[in-house]
């Protein structure tokens, strides 16, 4: 009986410990908690060093004990702890690329259109020799890429929903949706598959492809 009780309490302990980390969805954390935590960190609690703490709980207790943060509301402390734990320590938000900037006279090398008019679609290839080429969408980028594959250092595009710059090789692309780019049908880029799926449902897309699955045939078929 005693063994059973011990087992019960031990399991309860691990169970509660597991769920001490708050149970917010990824979207809520990313869109609400982290920005708020970052602001609190910068404005009030820049003295808290996350590397000193072993667990999330210890961090939360530590924040409550810190002089400048102790008077904050519990929800603020939680936002700060989440930001420090996830973003600062585990770097869950991957290092972001800078926004792709194009000048007013930059043109797409494939179709010759001016790029500054369509900033939401601009994508880029950087070659090892430092040459950077900008395109008005992933479709034109792919057309160029299939002809000039050698020495590619980096390929960047923009996530449709978030407008953040993402690496094209890790992105997912939706084909055949009702969203058109400056050159008509486009490969609409997303950072993760989840978002791509949602987009597929929302905008009547046909299929989702990863970067490696894109072939010249699929790209040229978009123009038909």
């Amino acid at each position: 009986m005693f063994v059973f009780k011990l087992f019960f309490f031990l399991s309860l302990l691990t169970f509660t410990n597991l769920f001490a980390y708050p149970n917010y969805s990824h979207a809520v954390k990313e869109k609400k908690m982290y920005p708020m935590g970052k602001k609190i960190f910068e404005m009030k609690c820049s003295g808290v060093d996350v590397s000193h703490y072993e667990s999330y709980d210890a961090l939360l207790v530590g924040i409550a004990k810190t002089k400048e943060c102790s008077r904050l509301k519990a929800s603020y402390q939680e936002a700060l702890a989440l930001y420090l734990w996830d973003v600062k320590r585990e770097k869950k938000v991957a290092n972001k690329y800078a926004k792709i900037q194009v000048s007013h006279d930059e043109k797409c090398p494939v179709c010759g259109m001016f790029l500054y008019k369509y900033p939401r679609w601009v994508s880029m290839i950087e070659y090892n020799d430092g040459k950077k080429l900008y395109f008005d969408g992933m479709k034109d980028l792919m057309k160029y890429y299939f002809e000039h594959k050698k020495g590619v250092k980096l390929m960047l595009t923009q996530g449709y929903y978030t407008q953040e710059t993402i690496a094209a090789k890790d992105a997912y692309f939706v084909l055949g949706s009702d969203v058109y780019g400056p050159m008509g049908n486009e490969l609409v880029a997303f950072k993760d598959k989840e978002r791509a799926k949602n987009f597929l449902f929302d905008h009547h897309g046909k299929k989702i492809l990863s970067f490696d699955a894109i072939t010249p045939q699929t790209v040229y078929k978009l123009d038909e």
């Binding site: 869109k31 449709y160 969203v179």
Partner: protein
């Protein structure tokens, strides 16, 4: 034609002075016409510019709750649900509204803030960078402070809550709204304090403001929210822009009718002038021809005369309109745009904002037409023989 002939210019100038009363009449009508048209365009462009700049400070989407067809408070838990929608980059709960101060018959606009959230309005962000608010302090605009002072509230103000109790909030500082006239009655305080004053429960708020990263998605996301929450009213920035534009176009219609009348009057005057010269003017041209002037010279002198008159009147009219609209702030005409009850647009500051295309339009509608109306009848007379004219 390449060089200005100063003898002819002087002749034209003296001609204008010789026919003082007639030309004075023309200059007056011309100036008033240009001034009227220019002030219409100055007002519309300036107001339109101001409206678009006001929309800039609004969140992309505002979600309001409706109950029994009337606006009501919204549940704060909905925010997390809405944030799950892809494409929404951030969101926040808003606590804001009007507070009627009965003693002085004034309405304050209370905006609840959370210092650790991103503010849509840069003006409020700037205030929060300077002042650190706590749950019993607030920031008030200068005009609100004046009203409170008149009621002998200098350090604090007692808000009357819906349940009849008082909520004392201390005035931390006052700010000058400067150019932002729409913020004239602003009070900034913490959301928690504002909630108490409005009588909201802990899970209630005024509305939810959302920001969308990709503006192309604005309409789609709005319709998606309408599907998820059938009771709410979703106002996107695009809707707001359309609403402003609709109302604005209606006002512009009133202006347009004024514009048509003014132009019509002008053309009647022009027609009258083009229809023929007085016998005196005819004789003058005849004498000039008898003296040996060529048709060319006569037309040249007439051109100078018309150009002098019309340019002078045009610029005088522009100047008058500029003073009327931007310095005197359009006392009568401007009232057309004051829709206090419709859009919460209380006052316009009428900043100097001139679209050159409209100035060009007025120029092309007046100056070349007037010059042509002077030249054509003179040319008709000048081509005749001198004796025929003077006979």
């Amino acid at each position: 034609m390449s060089k200005i002939n100063f003898y002819l210019l002087e002749y034209a100038y003296t001609y204008i002075l010789r026919h003082k009363s007639k030309n004075f009449f023309i200059v007056t009508v011309f100036t008033l016409l240009v001034a009227l048209l220019a002030s219409l365009f100055f007002i519309t462009t300036s107001v339109e510019h101001e409206l678009t700049s006001r929309i800039e400070n609004q969140p992309d989407i505002v979600v309001e709750n409706y109950q029994a067809g009337k606006p009501s408070s919204i549940n704060v838990l909905l925010l997390d649900k809405l944030l799950e929608i892809d494409g929404i980059s951030s969101g926040k709960i808003r606590v804001q509204g009007s507070y009627y101060f009965r003693a002085k018959d004034k309405t304050f606009h209370i905006v609840g803030i959370d210092a650790f959230e991103q503010q849509n309005d840069p003006f409020i962000q700037k205030l929060l960078n300077i002042y650190d608010l706590n749950s019993s302090s607030m920031l008030v605009s200068k005009s609100v402070q004046d009203v409170m002072k008149k009621a002998y509230y200098t350090d604090y103000f007692n808000f009357i809550k819906p349940d009849g109790n008082l909520q004392r909030v201390y005035i931390k500082a006052s700010f000058d709204t400067a150019k932002r006239v729409e913020l004239k009655n602003l009070i900034v305080m913490q959301k928690e304090t504002a909630k108490k004053i409005f009588g909201y429960a802990a899970n209630q708020a005024t509305d939810i403001a959302l920001d969308v990263a990709n503006k192309n998605e604005l309409d789609f996301i709005s319709s998606k929210i309408r599907l998820i929450l059938p009771n709410v009213k979703v106002i996107s920035k695009n809707d707001l822009r359309v609403k402003y534009e609709k109302l604005f176009n209606y006002d512009s219609g009133v202006f347009l009718s004024l514009f048509v009348i003014a132009i019509f009057t002008f053309f009647v005057i022009i027609y009258d002038k083009a229809n023929g010269l007085s016998s005196e003017e005819k004789r003058e041209i005849g004498i000039l021809k008898a003296l040996g002037w060529r048709v060319e010279d006569v037309l040249h002198a007439k051109f100078y005369e018309a150009a002098l008159l019309s340019f002078f009147s045009f610029f005088l009219g522009l100047l008058l309109a500029f003073i009327y609209v931007f310095i005197l702030k359009a006392p009568l005409l401007g009232d057309i745009f004051m829709h206090e009850n419709l859009l919460n647009i209380h006052t316009f500051r009428l900043d100097v904002y001139v679209e050159l295309s409209y100035v060009l339009l007025i120029f092309l509608l007046s100056v070349p037409i007037y010059i042509a109306a002077t030249l054509i009848p003179s040319w008709r007379v000048a081509t005749l023989d001198a004796d025929e004219v003077m006979r």
